[in-house]
Symmetry: C7
Subunit: 282 residues, 7 copies
């Protein structure tokens, strides 16, 4: 055997082989234990959450499955890195290599993570539900689907809006309570305010009688909202069943207009006072 | 025994085992001590804070529980990393592995942290409370719930707004003091300003007499606010009990309008001076 | 042999050579295994996805090919770094070297990654398809091409819009369902609301009869939408086949206008009430 | 004793124990020295600052206490890290562990730091003081409290604004000097400009005489500011005591209007020249 | 020889010298191989691309040269770093040194990289070409030059716009197809819609006959686009040769206006209904 | 002595002590040399700069003192770190420890650095000076103080604006040259343009004669600037001494208006052509 | 000699001293070589660039001097770091130390770098030159100075604008070619379009004859640009010498207006059709 051959530390290589094998086995054992424990932890966490927050079992299941698979992916990822590390290729080489690309990907993909984090909390806190009428990212519509990455709305004109969850900041849900019906109507400066308010209140009462439970509060005449250029504006306010506010407003407008007609109260056109000067030559 | 087998440094392995065990025990002991100390520290800190800043015991408890669990999670997280480190898998491998993903998650989740930091201070400084009327992130409404992550408002039209706390920059709380009622009313350029101001002041006094303590200051006529296109605008100012400002304004408008009618003072329509030229052919 | 020559550790160099060769072989073996496994994994994943989500085979193929080549590029990249690492040039030198440039490139290229991530999900979730009428990044048009980096729209005026996918946030697809036709028409304050609504409904029914299945719902007269300055505005609503909404609206306007003419109902011009003052000298 | 037991390097362990103890003691000694020196340094710095910049002792104390506690927290933080480092758990493990979370927290909490840095300088440079009328972040109001994190304004309508200091960019303080009262008044194109200016100046002099020291400069008629559509606009300018500008402007408007009335100078309504064409059928 | 001199490990220094030389030679060999391979790879890649995407040889050559020189610069950069590393000056020192400056430069220069990345894809995908009429970054004009860093437009008023490519997000190319000519014309509420449409269509047909192939589709009268305040608006639509749309629109306007004149159809002025009240004193 | 005591490498500890002391001394020597050299360098640099750029000695001194103290602080900072490093506590532990906090502070404090960098260049390039009238960050005013961190403006209404230098992007200095006085005046469509221009030019010449050197160029009548709805607009342009432009404009307006009056040239009111239709029922 | 003294490895220290000296010398030699080579490289690069791009020698010299001094500063910076590294103070300590401060400075100073990068390319590509009329960052003016950090504009009103180069995105240079003169003039709906166009063209030809070479193309009447509310708008277009466009437009307006007067063509005032209703009570 040549000199250099003998100098090779066969013993060290043997030790190495044993160590590596032991490490691999160790990693895998820890992996399976952590995964099992982690999943049980996630599962019990969601069960508790579901109980505490009144979330339907279906929704809980979706969230749990999501959390569980996120957990598994991260674990697998870590294990792979550890195994690579066992073979003693300096893993920092990977950092070096991944530096340029990784930075770009990290920034590029942050939107995706942002989508998922936001989506998770929208689902968890039940901020919106399918078939509710909401305003998200400046778009109105009825929710068709709430996903982890995207929320799908159907606008009133039939358009389908796909909204990445990260674009949802403050959101407004219009389907969670009775809604307000509000009608502002102008009367002439010559008309008596009290009398006009009385006529309006009668029309309101008639609408209330007609619609019954649809209107949960009011409608009431509040008083003089503005002294406009050509009109004294009176305000009527009511609470209605959800999604009925527009119908109630339409009916209130019609009934008050007709009551005014019957009682000779004028809804005034814009007014102008004209004065004349005669010097202009003709 | 083969040569390579003997060369394995069994002693080193034994030492290793002892060291590792010692380290694990050490870590756990330190962990429990730090946790105990940390929790006591948090608890006493909040007690002191609560005493100094007049925060209700309930709110203090919520904040304390939150701080305590944040502390625990961070500690557990650190311990796990240390334990992994004990087994001498180069933990920097984890950095490498977590590099790409971590960056994305870090950026994606920063919104969440930002929510919690902001939420913590809103709670701690009692900037808003349930049932107060506030303006947050451009949305008006009555506070329904102040959470660590989200604040829930109910708008006057019944809409429920979910506002992530990070979107709350400058916030305006309209329920912390007497409010201002302000009415601007225009009179004709032909009317005498002093006389009109006197009539307005009488109407104001009448409203004050009628409403009693609802009005805490004024209403007073301040003077000529603008010389408008068609009118001399006079301003009336009052301080009212909270949330009563709109009602007071409505009543002031009505009373002043009626007082003007009685005293022959004109709230003018827009004016225009017309001149004629005759050359246009007809 | 000179003293320093003997001192050179030839044995260590030999060991080194063997180790390096072994490492290179190991790296390549692992590389081919990982690549094979990875590709099979990607392929089966897309097949499953395609089945679950009803994505056409062509689209699936495109996505699969993309994912597969992204995977290959990353793998090759990692292998090169590992091989450089084997030769024990401190790869962190590369980090140092790449630091300045890499940061700039990373930031500069993140837009590209962002394009591809967004593009991938638009394709995967079938948010838009060729020949659909959509609104992306504030631009309306018919989709000509959906790419990984850029989406190409043709606007109605013939302009071709190239939109980098990263600029697509919330997107609106107008070709996924029946659309709404909405016509607001004002009548005079002197006209009877019920009568006008009846005439409008007859015109609507006539349009419905004429167009048949193009109109899927309505058209119906909803009621008084606004009490305007000079007119009482009534609203008509219908659902039509996709892309037919504009034609239906045009026809509804024409028919209602002509029905109003026949029935002596006035679509009013702006109104103004004039008053006169005589003091201006002439 | 088993073979592996003897092989344990008890000497190394002993050395270790001594070293560790020495290090711990060393760290603590350095810690107390640095803290003492640092605090004295801060204290003397603030005393000097206070002397140089005329900052009241109370304010100096607040700032000093703040700086001192920030310093202490950072020091304690460093010492803990050093102690952990002494036990030779690779502290980079902590970096790895803290990587993901730390990034998120770092970004999330930067707002807090930004608040404090800005707040510190607002306090130090006395840019705003309690009871001054200021404009911060687009909100007007009287300062109620200047804190390190938040500034509290009370708007004129009674609303309380909480403004995180980081949102304060350019700030405007309206309570640091005499203020300008500015009144623009239009006269008819038919009136003589010199005559009107003379009448206005007389009214101004009357107001000046009436209000005495409230007006520190002027009011003076500057000349023709605009040749408007229907009027020649003249400008009056004065300097008044702080917060008196609105009252002075109101009085100036009233007095000039009444002086014009007495002197037959017209504040014109909008003018229009009308021409007629007769071909329209009737 | 003094004791310390002998202790110097001359052998180690010799070994070092050999190693360093070997490393330098190795680096240079690998450098030339990688460069040759890389260039061939780039060259063949562009040839393939050129064939697949129908890019003219000139453009391909430009892109190839660019890619090739970018590749060379990076390679040289890496080699320099490696050589520095060979001399065992800890290259991380460079990181430390370059830290502050590098960060600033990296951020400062990212705009440059962003320009080049965007420019590369604009060239590659042929989104715009010299002499095309486009809208970039809100600026209209004819493309004079498409560069890697800057695009040069000449606006219709003669201004030259230099647009850094990074500012080009969504871009609109108006020279890629037939364009739309769209004319909206209002008729009186008193005119018969069908008759007016017939007259308009005749005028359209005349224009079509006159212009021949310039108009590729239409012009057709679509119907009632709006019921305006004073007019019923009818819409005419045509497709024209590129850049001819404005001329066609001008001609259509002239012809329809003259046809209306001949047929007594009125293009109405704004209408107003006036009412009078007599109480104003004069 | 126990076995483990003897095993302690007292020699190594001695060596250590010597090395550490030597290092400390070395660090301090280098520190004082670098500081002396650096200060002299800064000082001579500013002297040269001051000579080259005509900066007053006072301003140079301020800048030099600032640069010098920044340099000292950085040096002290480095020396402390080095000393800590000498004691061989792994300084990377500090990185780990400072990671979370440091990131937050770094981001939070970058505004401060940005202020100082911008402030430095504003001072160095003398972009603004005390008592000049400038526009910064959208705020107009007279500069009261230019600081490294903040610039203080006094608005014309007496408000004091504190502007963090980082908010100053493009700045406009209105006190560096003669200013333009520009007056647009409309004449009737019936008046002769040449005659009106002659009358205007005579008025301009009269103003020029009256004001003498205040006007450095013009005033000249340029010609027809717009053909407006009701008037032909003529433009007059002059150059005046700095801050005199408003007074000159006021005088020009007055003189031209009076010259027009004398010459029977009309500054027209808005015109309207009225047509009548008679079908409306009365 | 005490035991611990002997144990000190004097030999190692000697070796050290020799190595350090050798390294210092080596660093300095490499430094001077690299600097010489780098400068020659920069110099020849600029000479080539200057030849290729037609840049004047003065400008080339400025750029070369700048690039050369940037290069020198970076080199000196690197050498200092290397020298520090030679003394084996762990330079990463500097990273740790510079971490917090460096991050802040890096972010704070990136604006400066961004200025210089942009400024370099503006100079290199000659996008703007002194005395050209340009639009930068929304500000119009004549370029007074183009610097590496700041560009100085003089606005037409005499204001001096200092614009940090980083704020210059898309820039518009109005001094690089003939400019467009565009005049839109409305005629009455009653006038004959062809006749009016003929009169306009004659006025245009007269202007062309008068101004000679100032007008390089046109002026031509294009046709009916809009059918406005009260007028048919005709457009005239010309190309003029640079900066003459405003004068030409003024003359065109005057001549066309006078030609219309001579030919009895009306530039119409706003029209309105009035109708009357009589029911309003008087």
């Amino acid at each position: 055997m040549p000199e250099w051959f003998e100098a090779i530390n066969w013993a060290a290589i043997g030790t190495k082989a044993v160590t590596v094998t032991a490490q691999l086995v160790g990693i895998l054992i820890v992996f399976f234990i952590v995964r099992a424990v982690g999943r049980r932890f996630i599962s019990s966490g969601f069960t508790k959450m579901s109980a505490q927050r009144n979330i339907s079992p279906g929704r809980t299941k979706t969230l749990e499955k999501l959390a569980s698979s996120v957990f598994s992916y991260i674990l697998i990822f870590i294990v792979i890195t550890l195994i690579v590390g066992v073979f003693e290729y300096d893993v920092t080489a990977l950092i070096a290599g991944a530096g340029i690309v990784g930075l770009a990907i990290g920034f590029g993909a942050q939107g995706l993570v942002s989508d998922i984090v936001t989506g998770f909390f929208i689902l968890l806190e039940k901020q919106i539900d399918v078939d509710e009428y909401v305003t998200l990212a400046g778009l109105d519509g009825v929710v068709e689907e709430v996903g982890l990455r995207t929320t799908k709305l159907r606008g009133f004109d039939g358009t389908v809006h796909y909204i990445p969850n990260r674009e949802i900041g403050s959101l407004s849900n219009h389907s969670r309570s009775n809604m307000r019906a509000l009608v502002d109507i102008g009367i002439s400066y010559d008309d008596n305010i009290d009398e006009a308010a009385k006529v309006m209140q009668e029309a309101c009462d008639k609408v209330k009688a007609e619609l019954g439970d649809t209107i949960t509060e009011g409608p009431d005449v509040l008083g003089v909202q503005t002294l406009g250029d050509s009109e004294v504006v009176l305000r009527v306010l009511a609470k209605t069943a959800n999604m009925e506010q527009w119908g109630v407003e339409r009916l209130l407008r019609k009934e008050i207009k007709e009551a005014f007609d019957r009682n000779g109260i004028e809804i005034p056109f814009p007014h102008q006072v004209n004065m004349y000067k005669g010097e202009q030559h003709g």
